[in-house]
């Protein structure tokens, strides 16, 4: 029952543990350094850099969401949070990709 007691005051944000935060902050530092290093060293081609920095950003995003925001699907509240989070992700994807697609197309046809 101890789990339930902790869950009382966290609003579906998960249990607070120092180890999780430490793991989060260390992996974020490493990922940030990797991304900056890839750009600052002249070792990689443009495409390689793009792949490295975007994978670093996406992994860091997931690390922050899991370690700091503590999104979990363990509790009912947590599930609602995750569902709204995914919904926002879908909306974001629609209009960011959509805008780029439309504008790119427009650019392509007006240049002809």
């Amino acid at each position: 029952m101890s789990h339930h007691e902790v869950g009382q005051s966290d609003y579906g944000t998960g249990q607070k543990k120092l180890g999780m935060y430490l793991a989060g902050v260390i992996s974020c530092i490493i990922l940030t350094i990797i991304a900056f290093w890839a750009v600052l060293s002249d070792r990689f081609s443009r495409q390689e850099i793009l792949i490295i920095i975007f994978s670093a950003a996406i992994i860091q995003f997931l690390v922050q969401v899991i370690c700091f925001l503590r999104l979990t699907t363990e509790t009912e509240q947590g599930k609602t949070n995750v569902m709204s989070f995914i919904f926002t992700g879908v909306i974001l994807l629609c209009f960011v990709v959509g805008s780029l697609w439309i504008m790119n197309n427009l650019n392509y046809y007006t240049l002809i």
Binding site: Q8, S9, D10, Y11, G12, T13, K16, L18, Y21, G24, V25, C28, I29, T32, A35, F36, V39, L40, R46, I49, L50, I53, F54, A56, A57, Q60, F61, Q64, V65, F68, L69, Q77, T80, N81, S84, F85, F87, T88, I91, L92, F95, V96, S99, L100, M103, N107
Partner: protein, 199 residues
């Protein structure tokens, strides 16, 4: 009978608290959409070969790296503050909140001085659409951080007055979500704006 009523009341109170926090979470998600629109504007206006000065010549990636670490450090110290909050150690909570404030203030200070430096060099928001988009995106993030700092300051003053109660814990939860969200947005700002711009 009385006891049972109290339990029901407590339960109801907790439920409405959870609804409040969920509401704040929804606000954070709508703020994500705001940033999403600014990001797509920035990306559309920043097509390769667009006219006007380019960011690469005016920004220093080492400064951006320091800013990133400042924001990450302030995020971590805030987590430590909320950890101590649940152990009811008021002094430590305040200490970590002050550190969070200092790191955050360092971030805003570096960003503003960077903006001033850029404007002096001729990288002004009225020069091209691309630069307007840059200042709108990064500026909106900076403004959010500044408001977050104000909020942290309010919490530092409020905590010793109100002590650690269910209400202050709820407020700290809001602040934690907000502060964390700003760091998450910053990941995409430095990747899309600065790192992609520097290539």
């Amino acid at each position: 009978m009385h006891n049972q009523a109290a339990i029901v009341d407590e339960h109801h109170h907790h439920d409405s608290d959870a609804t409040d926090v969920f509401g704040f979470w929804l606000y954070i998600l709508t703020d994500c959409i705001l940033f999403g629109t600014l990001f797509s504007t920035f990306l559309v206006l920043n097509y390769p070969g667009s006219p006007g000065p380019i960011l690469k010549n005016y920004s220093n990636l080492h400064d951006i790296l320091i800013e990133t670490f400042l924001l990450l450090a302030s995020n971590f110290t805030f987590c430590l503050a909320s950890l101590n909050l649940y152990k009811d150690k008021l002094c430590k909570v305040q200490l970590w909140l002050v550190l969070t404030f200092l790191f955050g203030a360092g971030f805003v200070f570096m960003e503003v001085s960077e903006f001033i430096h850029m404007a002096h060099e001729g990288f002004r928001w009225d020069v091209s659409g691309q630069i307007s988009a840059f200042f709108t995106l990064v500026g909106t993030h900076g403004l959010h951080v500044s408001f977050g700092l104000l909020w942290i300051l309010v919490m530092i003053i409020q905590l010793p007055l109100l002590k650690i109660t269910a209400i202050t814990k709820r407020r700290m939860t809001y602040l934690g979500l907000f502060w964390n969200f700003l760091d998450i947005v910053w990941i995409f700002v430095f990747t899309i704006v600065y790192l992609m711009g520097a290539m």
